[in-house]
């Protein structure tokens, strides 16, 4: 069938309706070891990337925050402490396994009441228009099938003046770094995935999906097209990761 719409799943082309299921399998597979692997793969630097995201989010007491693809809850935990009893944080993830790991972990850390959980698709958010002061999506947009649809959906549920922060792997801005990074992610990463999580395929998908993700300027243009204003991005670790920010007018 030549007219069948396809999309990228890492370097593979799959039918559009197939991608979500394939991504789900990856995250069911890695959920239990997700935190350990993040620390190992990034040498702990993912904590700095997230800390910068939390700073730039500027969340204040009483605000409503949506943490999409919130996974194991690093950002939600920080936001829940900041919004206080009058605020609310919703940790949303499309993946049941990640959501369960996140809830167990945050309950263990003593967060309750102002942190709620919902299984939701970033492309079809189950919230009314103009609901949230801030939306974050950290290492999640890459896995969404239709990123334009997701950006439009996030814009819809943001309040006017509300901000979106997208933390995602991006394109290193130095050719030497890019070479080292390629060697790291296509050789070492699947190897670590195999040894630590017994799952080389999932970590190969990770490396491939990062290369397929739009670079800094492309993602910024996508946010502009979706209707965000004052869009900007900050490179971290030489552009290995970028934090994009946009405001709903």
């Amino acid at each position: 069938m030549s007219d069948r719409k396809t999309t990228d799943f890492g370097y593979e082309q799959v039918a559009v309706e197939e991608k979500a299921g394939r991504v789900a399998d990856v995250f069911h597979s890695v959920a239990a070891r997700y935190d350990v692997m993040n620390d190992l793969m990034s040498g702990g630097v993912h904590r700095l990337w997230k800390r910068f995201t939390i700073e730039l989010a500027g969340v204040r007491a009483g605000q409503k925050v949506l943490d999409i693809a919130g996974g194991t809850g690093d950002l939600s935990y920080a936001f829940a402490r900041r919004v206080g009893d009058d605020g609310l944080v919703v940790l949303a993830d499309i993946n049941e396994s990640m959501l369960n790991v996140g809830r167990d972990r945050l309950t263990d850390r003593g967060v309750a009441g102002n942190l709620q959980y919902a299984q939701a698709d970033a492309q079809y958010l189950p919230f009314p228009d103009n609901t949230f002061d801030c939306i974050t999506i950290a290492f999640g947009l890459r896995n969404v099938t239709d990123k334009d649809l997701a950006l439009a959906s996030m814009l819809r549920v943001l309040k006017p003046g509300g901000r979106l922060l997208v933390l995602e792997f991006s394109k290193p801005n130095n050719p030497l770094l890019e070479k080292a990074y390629d060697a790291y992610s296509f050789k070492l990463l699947p190897f670590m995935g195999k040894v630590v999580a017994n799952d080389a395929d999932s970590y190969r998908y990770l490396a491939e999906s990062i290369r397929m993700h739009p670079d800094q300027e492309t993602l910024k243009a996508m946010m502009d097209n979706a209707g965000f204003v004052n869009t900007e991005y900050h490179n971290m670790t030489g552009g290995v990761v970028a934090l994009h920010k946009g405001i709903k007018p």
Partner: protein, 65 residues
């Protein structure tokens, strides 16, 4: 049980209409789209792919209320 604060925020991802909570069945019902979303382990599953359709009888019952 689903939290009241969260419940007041949720809408149907398809119709964007408000939902009714059925505490006995642990489901969220959207009259507009006729979709019923499960609440699993206290977490609402707001995915169209996981929702079921309202049955004719359920629809009639809702209309009478």
């Amino acid at each position: 049980m689903i939290d009241k604060k969260l419940l007041s925020l949720l809408v149907c991802p398809v119709s964007k209409a408000p939902l009714e909570y059925d505490a006995d069945k642990q489901e969220l019902v959207c009259r507009a789209s006729g979709l019923v979303y499960p609440v699993r382990d206290g977490i609402p599953v707001m995915l169209e792919s996981e929702a079921r359709q309202l049955t004719l009888e359920e629809r009639e019952q809702l209309d009478r209320q």
